[in-house]
């Protein structure tokens, strides 16, 4: 277990950011979801010992968040949401400085900085001043400074924010390769649910200062009754009517039909294709319906 939190309460003046929140964060890659102002960033800061909770407590990597803030921060790498860098330094100096801050001897920090920058895809821009970096490169160097001291837990706050599609893909590949099989646990706090889906195995949804849903993504996405989603080339009312005649319940939204039909998977798909041919509709997509992560999120937030 990477972190276990017991009814954490944090208040900013009169506003209760975390309302006796309890959560068990498993190993591997965990997605931390929640609407704006739900307390995600506050949770991260409390786990790092930035904020002392008004009530409750918890352990991160076996260290107590109330008293061992510094030790936690030595074992954890934080990639903050806002842009941040040390002014006047180029990339290598900046990452090496971050390493020294974490406690690495200076020559080891420098060697490690080169390695981590190479790994984060900033190999050729390593001697450029960070101020001249583009949004994408700034995100990567924030990851590099979080990775330099070899943390066993990586906290990423909106890692793909502001990246262009290719940058986002490369960042997600980076996160996936670090979090799987390298002994580094990762917590990704993000608003981009498809990104979380592509990288994480577990999810914790925080809303109004409480954990309202947590669990493995695969489990959360299953819809009971295994309905089938069919995507057609164009809308075809005859096809829908024919399916209903066969006793199927059909919900049509645009080109996608959600069909519930008795029988085994093979029989259902055979009937669908036969009906399609009879009514002249063209089936372009066929899949077992799953709840989108956004669906899970909406329900968890409304709860």
């Amino acid at each position: 277990m990477v972190a276990s939190l017991q009814n954490l309460t944090v208040r900013y003046g009169s506003f209760t950011a975390l309302d006796s929140l309890s959560a068990e964060i498993p190993e591997g890659c965990v997605g931390l979801l929640g609407p704006n102002g739900a307390g995600k960033t506050t949770l991260i800061k409390t786990m790092l010992g930035f904020l002392t909770p008004a009530g409750g407590g918890g352990l991160v990597l076996g260290l107590d968040i109330r008293t061992q803030g510094r030790e936690i921060r030595q074992k954890v790498g934080l990639m903050p949401e806002q842009d941040c860098h040390i002014p006047g330094l180029n990339a290598v100096q900046f990452v090496a400085f971050a390493g020294e801050l974490a406690g690495m001897p200076s020559e080891l920090a420098l060697r490690r900085a080169h390695e981590v920058l190479e790994y984060c895809g900033l190999g050729e821009a390593r001697y450029r001043n960070v101020e001249t970096y583009s949004t994408g490169m700034k995100q990567r160097i924030k990851l590099a400074q979080a990775l330099v001291h070899g943390p066993s837990l990586l906290l990423l706050d909106e890692p793909t924010n502001g990246l262009d599609p290719r940058g986002r893909e490369e960042m997600l590949d980076l996160i996936r390769s670090v979090s799987h099989g390298k002994g580094v646990n990762v917590i990704v706090s993000s608003h981009l649910l498809p990104d979380v889906e592509r990288v994480c195995d577990h999810v914790v949804v925080v809303s109004r200062g409480k954990v309202t849903e947590q669990g493995a993504i695969a489990r959360l996405k299953v819809i009971e009754g295994r309905p089938i989603d069919i995507e057609l080339k164009e809308e075809s009312p005859e096809f829908v009517r024919a399916l209903r005649d066969l006793g199927a319940t059909v919900e049509a939204t645009g080109l996608v039909l959600r069909v519930r039909l008795e029988g085994s998977a093979e029989q259902v798909s055979a009937t669908i294709f036969r009906t399609a041919r009879q009514t002249g509709a063209q089936v372009r997509g066929l899949a077992v319906a799953q709840r989108s992560l956004e669906g899970v999120f909406e329900e968890a937030v409304r709860a």
């Binding site: 900013y12 506003f15 950011a17 102002g37 960033t41 506050t42 800061k45 790092l48 930035f50 904020l51 803030g69 510094r70 030790e71 921060r73 030595q74 954890v76 790498g77 934080l78 903050p80 806002q82 842009d83 941040c84 860098h85 040390i86 002014p87 006047g88 400085f97 971050a98 020294e100 801050l101 974490a102 406690g103 690495m104 001897p105 080891l108 490690r112 190479e118 790994y119 101020e131 400074q145 979080a146 990775l147 330099v148 001291h149 070899g150 066993s152 390769s177 670090v178 390298k182 002994g183 580094v184």
Partner: protein, 329 residues
Amino acid sequence: MPESGLIADLSYRGYDGPLLPPTHRWWVIARMGVRQAFRKRAYWVVTALSAWYYLVMMAVLFFFERAAQSAPGARGEAGFEAFIGRIVWKDQFLHGFGFAQLLYLIAALMLGAGAIANDNRSKALLVILSKPCDKRDYLAGKWMGVFLPLLTMMLIPPLVFFVYGALSYRDYGFLDNPWFFPKFLIVLVLGAAVHTSLVIGISSLFDQGRLAGASYAGIYFLTNFFTQLMVFAWLDSQVFLWGGARGGAGQSPFAEYVDRLYYVSIDGLLIGLCKAILGTDGSPQFGMPSPIRPVPAPPLLATLLVALALCAAGVAVAWSRIRAVEVVR
């Protein structure tokens, strides 16, 4: 040729090297400050410039000596004896220190103006505090990061002059009372501390190095301006005592405060501190005779207290301005 073919796996690997205990992180920040200072060419230029009084003094002594030897008979020698007799060695350091004040300001601006201001703009605290550091490390590190280079810069010129003096003018009484030099070092430490604390305090109020620098320079010149007013108030009272043009009846109520108000500015304070610690009222520069009596030294304890108060104020302002982490809901 390595016998077994091997394709290295260059993907991410953890760091399992040594990790120092998560304490005394301030030294890392301080070392970064020092390294950045030494890397700036302007830093060395200002150091060299701040030695101009000492260089001029060396040149004057050198040429006087040459002139004395080449002049015929005793007259040249006697002239040099008279000249060097007039020189009070420890006052040369006072003048060196006094004349370099402007350059100490420029150095303090260059090193310290952006110290916290640029960090505020680039949110560097987020990086630093996400490592095992806290506000104390940050402030101590930043303070030392400005203090150490500033002290080194102040130290080099007088050290050079001291060695030069000790070697070539030992028989002219340079080392008669060697204790003035350690005292002078204390002056430099205090001077550097005052400049560092003030510039760090002001730097934490802004998020642009330039604005912080402009404000500190503004404060420096405004108070300095005030000292200038006192300078010729003092000259004026001299001229008056000396039977100058303006006869005039009673003396203004402030006359006796003038020698105190003279020190009411940053550079005034430092010069006052130097006079008080070295225990001298100062003497004419370059050994040139001049009728004006130098302004007497201020009381040591009072000046020391004011200096330490300024240091505490600067640090306190910086401490209050450094918010651990922007608390954004």
